[in-house]
């Protein structure tokens, strides 16, 4: 079996990072609107 775990770790880290960053961006945008 080939050693391919580093690609799998990077893929999950990047994908989950993108989802988390988008959730934060939605929260920040709505917060900023309310401050206005």
């Amino acid at each position: 079996m080939p050693e391919t775990s580093s690609y799998y770790h990077v893929a999950y880290t990047v994908a989950l990072g993108i989802y988390a960053a988008y959730a934060v961006s939605l929260y920040v945008r709505r917060k900023r609107l309310r401050v206005r």
Partner: protein, 223 residues
């Protein structure tokens, strides 16, 4: 602080999915750990297609009935769809490298047409930012939203119509899925979790659009 149930459930479902993938799903014999990228890559592609398909439907109905709620929904779904397509375009090459020996090939129709889909909906977002009149913005973007989604069936069928390195589906084909039950269950858990995450993101993004439009309207009346 009020806790919103849908994002909480969606977030917990995604965490549960990752735990199941990491700890309770067997390694595939030939590909090893890289095959586990499947559980994040394929559901992201499904959600991207769902998101853009719904943009097209909402846009088509908007052009007919001119209801602002449909335009806001299309705007929200397109943005979330671009985010999921970004995940597809990053996780795909990371899976391809150890299996195909390369991150990307420009002659592969499935890969390049998915990149085109991403560009079309990025253009959709840019167009919305560039047109000031809300009526014109909604009309122009509805047309682009419908045209962009025409790529979806082409992308789906590209693996059958052209010689590509990308494999044909192992689930959602006429005969039985070619996955053992443990892997199949993980796939369905992942499929449901990321669909739920899409719904949570679109709902939140839609609420942002409603609040923004309310503020803009109030500012216009004060001016």
């Amino acid at each position: 602080m009020r806790i919103s149930w849908l994002p909480t459930v969606a977030g917990l479902a995604v965490v549960g999915t990752v735990i199941r993938v990491v700890s309770f799903t067997p390694l595939e014999a030939k590909q090893g750990a890289a095959q586990k990228i499947y559980y994040i890559h394929v559901p992201a592609a499904w959600v991207a297609f769902l998101a853009f398909g719904l943009v097209a439907i909402a846009s088509g109905v908007f052009l007919w009935v001119r209801d602002q709620r449909l335009d806001r929904f299309a705007e929200s779904s397109a943005e979330v769809g671009v985010m999921f397509t970004t995940v597809v375009l990053i996780t795909g090459p990371l899976w391809a490298k150890p299996i195909w020996g390369t991150y990307w090939t420009w002659w592969d129709v499935r890969l390049v047409s998915t990149l085109f889909l991403w560009f079309i909906y990025v253009s959709y977002i840019v167009l919305r930012g560039a047109v000031e009149s809300p009526e014109l913005r909604a009309r122009y973007s509805a047309v682009l939203g419908i045209l962009g989604a025409l790529l979806i069936p082409f992308i789906h069928l590209s693996v059958y119509l052209f010689a590509t390195m990308h494999p044909t589906p192992i689930i959602g084909k006429p005969d039985r899925p070619s996955l053992p039950n443990e892997m199949l269950l993980t796939f369905f858990v992942s499929f449901v979790s990321f669909t739920l995450l899409y719904v949570a993101f679109v709902r939140s993004r839609y609420r942002y659009a409603v609040e923004r439009d309310t503020i803009m309207e109030a500012a216009k009346q004060h001016a």
